[in-house]
């Protein structure tokens, strides 16, 4: 059975409650998990974040990651939304949701999706403060996180 995988790469915000209201409501779903990433401001200096993406490759890369997760954990539903453009602290950047028969599969699939989206989906974050702008450097820990899968 083909798993419904929905992917959206967009500038506009999303309504988390609306996205989750009908999510995974199939007879063979026993658990849903969702994760939302927000723009964090650790120092109080962040004015906004600029997220650049590679149109086309972005959607394809996310689709491959999501298909892999869907097959590996027999997901009954799967959703990935990732925004790009200018975002201010507190705004939602992205979300993933997974639905499976049991919670362990739903949790694992959501973590897998997040680990891969971090370093295999072509997005680049730039932080803009009063002092200037700086590209966020990729962390070794993000790359290392992939080895557990």
């Amino acid at each position: 059975m083909a798993v419904p995988v929905r992917i959206s790469v967009q500038t506009q915000d999303f309504d988390l409650a609306a996205e989750l209201s009908g999510f995974g409501r199939t007879p063979n779903t026993g658990a849903t998990v969702s994760f939302t990433g927000l723009v964090r401001d650790d120092t109080g200096a962040l004015q906004h974040m600029e997220i650049e993406h590679y149109p086309g490759m972005c959607e394809d890369a996310i689709r491959k990651i999501a298909d892999e997760a869907a097959n590996r954990w027999a997901l009954t539903d799967c959703l990935v939304i990732h925004r790009y453009g200018r975002l201010v602290p507190g705004e939602q950047i992205m979300m993933v949701a997974t639905a499976a028969r049991h919670r362990s599969e739903a949790f694992a699939a959501a973590e897998f999706l997040m680990d891969y989206l971090k370093s295999r989906a072509p997005f680049w974050k730039k932080e803009v403060t009063r002092e200037g702008a700086e590209w966020v450097a990729a962390k070794d820990s993000d790359e290392n996180a992939l080895t557990r899968w």
């Binding site: 590679y54 990732h82 992205m94 997040m114 971090k118 997005f123 680049w124 590209w135 450097a137 990729a138």
Partner: protein, 83 residues
């Protein structure tokens, strides 16, 4: 052959443009990088540290020794920071 080159994030900023179309006879990505570096200092600067660069051929991640035969689009960018 004609190649569409795409640059993202600080690679785009250092080179000063998001995309360009070039004619080249480079056999591999590495050959292409060598050719670009020789063009102007801004390219030399953008490609000075290959360990901090990634490349995609026709929107698939690739290695720097990958052949360019049949490729139409080459993108250069830093390691991705999604999520």
């Amino acid at each position: 052959m004609t190649l569409n080159l795409l640059y993202f994030a600080w690679v785009r900023e250092r080179i000063g443009l998001p995309r360009e179309t070039i004619e080249t006879s480079a056999a591999t990505v590495m050959d292409l990088v060598t050719e670009l570096k020789a063009r102007e200092p801004r390219y030399d600067l953008a490609f000075s540290d290959l360990a901090s660069l990634r490349v995609a051929l026709d929107q698939e991640l690739a290695e720097f020794d990958a052949p360019l035969e049949g490729v139409r689009e080459v993108a250069f960018f830093p390691p991705m920071t999604g999520g």
